[in-house]
């Protein structure tokens, strides 16, 4: 089991949800309206007047074999709409109840 942390421009919400559904990822936790900026390029997402865009974040714990497929689909989505901004990070799950 691995956890996948996905931060994305909230304009992409529907598509991210669709990707999760298509891979039958049922469980996740979502934070709405979170702020952040990328390390290299892209506009900051601050929800301010200057940088009006906002992010949402999803933490999904998925089966190991699904991780690659998920990342692949997310990458495809990001490359389709690069201006919007989407990142995903993966951790190991040590234990769970």
């Amino acid at each position: 089991m691995k956890s996948v942390f996905i931060v994305y421009n909230q304009a992409l919400t529907e598509r991210v949800d669709a990707i999760l559904d298509s891979l039958s990822v049922r469980g996740f936790t979502r934070w709405q309206d979170v702020q952040g900026r990328g390390s290299v390029k892209g506009e900051p997402h601050f929800g301010s007047h200057t940088w009006p865009a906002m992010n949402s974040a999803i933490l999904a714990v998925v089966d190991d074999r699904l991780v690659d497929k998920l990342l692949e689909k997310l990458k495809a989505l990001n490359s389709k709409a690069e201006m919007q901004g989407l990142r995903a990070f993966v951790w190991n799950i040590e234990a769970s109840i």
């Binding site: 909230q10 304009a11 992409l12 009006p52 865009a53 690069e82 201006m83 919007q84």
Partner: protein
């Protein structure tokens, strides 16, 4: 959940809510009455007091002054003025606009009840008269007749007046000028004297004979019958055989001493229409009724009524206000439609997408229809003001939708789904959209608070634009994102074809424009001094245009009506006036092809017609009312026709004085007037000054129809009784006067009844015995012993001159010299008049003031000045709070002076003046012009925050915002174009506003696009420095 989010997620609810609003609006529209202007009740109350037999100065001392002194205590009174004429005192109380007139009426009643006992015994109870707009006749018909002329009054009363009165909403139908039947008993004074009879005795006998009396009840068998004596004459012929006395044992019949004529009253007023004798029918509506509908119903009913009339009676329309209203409303409806089409074309031009255009255009009907709901809910009407307000608003309602849609499109192009793009795209610009709307509201809402006459005009304008713009913002935040989420797609490249080639070309042109603007901006920010100095020069130079443009109050509009009053020498016989009237008529027929109908009345007005009675009165006055053909069908406008008439009247030696009023005296459309008020007690001195002034003013260019309010002193004959002689014969003045009156004016002895109508039976001397001074001197007056004595033994008949009317204003005697204006600005004329006044030597005790529309103008302009300041402050507050900065709104406000440069320039080019309407246009510009600046400065600030240098930010922001700025500006400008062209009837009033807004907005936009970025680079540099310093401080102590 935010409003736009829920509307995107619940499209059905959103659509249905707006459909509900539309249905409610359509319902309101269906039931809204149509009228020319909003209901305006002038804050004026008049008090009439009749005092038969008193002359002007008696009335002034005994009635007018007394009433004035008491009425002066009434609350909220602005001005009190009075006219004292023979037999009548007319006091006019003017209140502040918006004062509660019901309360004022009560106060007046109280004041009158206090003073009533001190009024002279013979005076009647003072009458209170309140004027309101529904009293202005909506329809005036003329009825002409040949053989049936004698019975015209009765026929019209039965066949026209009564049926018309039954129409719902008709307030009053009155007939004026129709002949009235009268039974005349014309006595030969020598004969009655021979028989020892007097006019009073004959009158008494007639009254006693013409008599019905219930004589009680009589029981016959089981029934009770009433008993009546019917002594009334069944036919007027019977009068002749009336026994009026005995002389030496023989019976004297009425026919022995008098002739009895069943005839028409001697007409003191003759109505003629297109050369035929007749009468005038005046139709007024009930307050709040729909003029257009009533006029239509009346016109529909007339052909039916015409069938019942004798064939020689013809009914024609003199004027029909509904015609003018309908034309005005139709042309304004066209204006709104054209404006809508223009706006649509602009949007399509810039966006190049049908779906996007459709979404934006949809906000127009949705927000405009709310105006009808407002009008319906507040009991207003569809009128020139409300419709013009719509056409003013139409270019502004799409602005918010444009901004929202533009941002949503950007998001879609960046790769979001339309649904998400709609929500987040709206979120980003929501605040800016609300802020720009607030600036517009900050301009239009204060308009609802303006007082005075202009306040009534602009109240609707203020409310309608405020409501419509607010609703358009709501629609832009709900309907527009919802529709975008459903309809917009990421655009595939266009397919080849006509539309591709057209839109590609447009796109190419727009890109060229963007690049061109970028290079201009780049040059400008490098040459700041040149730009700033030349902009300042342009503004200051434009200030020199103000005197060239000139000022006036309200521009006149061509309503195809000309009215004129012609005065012949005072005291001419009515027959002579009629003869002159006829020659004028012939001249009209021959030389004025544009006159469709000429209605001429000569002589003094009928007492049944309050409208003619309120104007000046007398046998020497001819009233002319012309209806011209449609403005498009004639070469001369109404002013030119008026001028030609003036020339003709100048050439007629018998005409003493005349006034020609193009436009007639209706409502606010009339031209402006300057009134010079000369106040002072000495009638002779003030009269002299007035005459001199009037002669001098003729030389001031731009003046027309100079008129002195006081008429010439009127020659009159007075019977001066010698009191000693009266006492000697035991006769008092009252008896003596009534004897003379009964013989000359006549004694109404009784009423002759026929078919339910009553006619006067008048006894007096035959006309041949009352046409010389000797006739009066030979009148025999009887004392209580029955002894007769001639008037010449009691006194003498002398000729005197008496002032026909004494006018007072604020309890001082005044004479007014008025002049109309033609193709001249009021300011210039007032200056010219002031120069003339300075050259006149004014006797002690006299003072001269200039008033009239000039005074109103000054008041209104002062109001507008305050309003302007208020609006500028409000707009500044709105912007400062949006930017959270004092500097940014200041930079934006720099576009204002150039708006005024544009206003002056466009008014000058179009030959318009600076008047109430164009000033309001200029005030509106405050809100409209700053919108561009907000868009520009807001985005520049944004780019600065994102880290661009001042110069980079200014150029990049300019380039990226050029299209939205041009688009919103063009929609507003093109929305105004139909108004500025002012082609239709009635819409000319708004022409100056359209021109002012178009000129101001065009000019200021062009300059704003260059000057504001340049000024930004001058003032905006400090902004980033401060920010950097703060950031340094935050980390410096670590």
């Amino acid at each position: 959940m935010k409003i736009y989010e829920s509307s995107v997620k619940n499209p059905i609810t959103t659509v249905l809510v707006f459909i509900a609003v539309m249905i409610f609006g359509a319902y309101s529209l269906k039931y809204l009455p149509i009228d020319l202007y909003p209901e305006i009740d002038p804050p004026v109350i008049s008090v009439f007091t009749f005092y038969q037999g008193a002359n002007a100065s008696d009335i002034e001392t005994n009635v007018s002054r007394l009433l004035e002194d008491n009425l002066n205590t009434v609350n909220n009174l602005k001005e009190i003025s009075s006219v004292s004429k023979d037999n009548l005192s007319l006091i006019t109380l003017e209140f502040e606009w918006g004062a509660n007139l019901d309360e004022a009426t009560n106060d007046i009643r109280d004041a009158l009840s206090r003073v009533e006992r001190s009024l002279p015994d013979g005076s009647e109870k003072p009458m209170i008269f309140k004027f309101n707009t529904s009293m202005i006749p909506i329809l005036m018909l003329s009825a002409t007749a040949e053989e049936s002329y004698a019975a015209l009054d009765k026929i019209l009363d039965e066949k026209i007046v009564n049926p018309l009165n039954r129409i719902d909403g008709v307030g009053a139908v009155s007939v004026s000028g129709g002949p009235v039947r009268e039974i005349q008993v014309n006595v030969d004074p020598q004969k009655i004297e021979a028989y020892g009879l007097s006019v009073e005795q004959i009158g008494g006998v007639i009254a006693q004979e013409n008599f019905n009396l219930p004589a009680g009840n009589i029981d016959l068998g089981t029934e009770t019958y009433p008993l009546r004596i019917e002594g009334e004459f069944k036919e007027s012929e019977k009068l002749k055989t009336l026994i009026i006395g005995n002389y030496q044992g023989k019976t004297v019949f009425l026919s022995d001493v008098a002739t009895v004529n069943d005839t028409l009253q001697k007409m003191s007023l003759e109505e003629r229409s297109n050369g035929r004798v007749g009468a005038r029918i005046i139709i007024q509506k009930q307050s709040g009724a729909n003029s257009v509908q009533i006029a239509k119903e009346v016109m529909a009913m007339l052909p039916k009524l015409q069938k019942d009339l004798p064939p020689d009676i013809q009914i024609e329309t003199i004027f029909d206000t509904s015609e003018f209203i309908e034309n005005s409303i139709n042309s304004l409806t066209d204006t709104v439609l054209y404006a809508g089409i223009f706006v649509m074309l602009v949007v399509l031009f810039f966006l190049g997408r049908w779906r996007a255009t459709f979404i934006i255009i949809l906000t127009i009907p949705v927000s405009l229809i709310v105006a009808f709901i407002y009008l319906y809910a507040t009991g207003n009407t569809i009128n020139i003001i409300s419709l013009s307000s719509l056409s003013i608003a139409i270019g502004m309602v799409v602005d918010d939708a444009i901004v929202v849609l533009e941002n949503i499109t950007t998001h879609i192009e960046k790769g979001s789904s339309p649904r998400e793009a709609a929500i987040y795209g709206t979120n980003e610009v929501g605040l800016a959209v609300v802020a720009t709307t607030l600036t517009v509201v900050a301009v239009f809402f204060p308009l609802t608070l303006v007082g005075g006459l202009s306040g009534i005009m602009f109240k609707q304008l203020g409310w309608i634009v405020t409501l419509v713009v607010v609703v358009s913002t709501i629609a832009a935040l709900t309907l527009t994102p919802m529709l975008s989420s459903q309809m917009l797609r990421l655009n595939p490249p266009r397919k080849k074809g006509l539309s591709k080639s057209i839109f590609d070309k447009i796109e190419g042109a727009l890109t060229w424009l963007d690049n061109g603007y970028e290079s201009i901006l780049t040059w400008s920010v490098r040459h700041k001094t040149v730009v700033v100095v030349s902009a300042l020069t342009v503004f200051i130079a434009s200030l020199f245009l103000i005197p060239l443009v000139g000022t006036e109050f309200i521009p006149a509009s061509d309503n195809s009506r000309v009215s004129a009053t012609i005065e012949l020498p005072v005291g001419v016989r009515v027959e002579y006036s009629q003869q002159v009237a006829r020659s004028i008529e012939q001249n009209l027929k021959a030389n004025y092809p544009e006159v469709e109908l000429a209605s001429v009345s000569a002589g003094s007005a009928d007492d049944r017609n309050i409208f003619s009675a309120m104007g000046s009165n007398g046998t020497h006055i001819i009233n002319l009312m012309l209806k011209l053909t449609d403005p498009k069908e004639r070469t001369r406008d109404m002013e030119e026709v008026g001028d030609a008439l003036r020339k003709d009247f100048d050439a007629m030696p018998e005409v003493v004085k005349y006034t020609v009023t193009p436009g007639g005296n209706n409502g606010m459309g009339g031209g402006s007037q300057v009134e010079i008020i000369i106040s002072g007690y000495d009638l002779e001195a003030s009269g002299k000054v007035a005459e001199e002034l009037a002669a001098r003013i003729k030389n001031v260019p731009g003046t027309r129809d100079i008129d002195i309010s006081r008429e010439d002193f009127k020659p009159e004959y007075q019977v001066e009784f010698n009191r000693d002689k009266l006492a000697q014969f035991g006769i008092n003045t009252t008896t003596a006067s009534s004897f003379i009156r009964n013989r000359i004016n006549g004694l109404v002895a009784s009423k002759y009844r026929e078919d339910g109508d009553e006619y006067d039976i008048v006894v007096r001397y035959d006309e041949s015995f009352r046409s010389t001074i000797e006739d009066i001197e030979n009148i025999t007056i009887y004392n209580s012993q029955g002894k007769g004595v001639k008037v010449k033994e009691l006194g003498k008949v002398v000729e005197r001159f008496s002032p026909p009317s004494i006018e007072r204003q604020n309890r001082q005697r005044v004479v007014k010299v008025t002049t109309a204006l033609y193709k001249a600005s009021l300011g210039d004329v007032v200056k010219g008049i002031e120069a003339e006044i300075a050259q006149i030597s004014i006797p002690d005790g006299l003072s001269i003031d200039i008033g009239g529309t000039a005074q109103d103008q000054q008041e209104s302009f002062a109001d507008l000045g305050t309003l302007f300041l208020l609006i500028v402050i409000l707009v500044y507050i709105v912007m400062a709070s949006q930017f959270e900065s004092f500097r940014s709104p200041f930079i934006i406000m720099l576009s204002l002076p150039f708006a005024f440069t544009g206003v002056f320039l466009s008014l000058y080019i179009a030959g318009q003046t600076l008047n109430l309407i164009s000033m309001i246009g200029a005030i509106m510009l405050v809100g409209i012009v700053v919108k561009n600046g907000i868009v520009l400065v807001d985005f520049t600030n944004l780019l600065r925050d994102r880290g661009l240098s001042v110069t980079q930010a200014v150029i990049a922001a300019g380039k990226s915002r050029l299209r939205p700025v041009l688009m919103t500006t063009l929609t507003t400008i093109l929305g105004m174009v139909p108004l500025a062209l002012g082609t239709g009837e009635g819409s000319e009033i708004w022409q100056p506003m359209g021109i002012a807004i178009i000129g101001g907005l065009t000019f200021s936009t062009l300059l704003t696009l260059v000057v504001v970025p340049v000024v930004y680079t001058l003032f905006g540099a400090a902004r980033m420095k401060r920010e950097r310093k703060r950031m340094l401080q935050l980390t410096s102590d670590l």
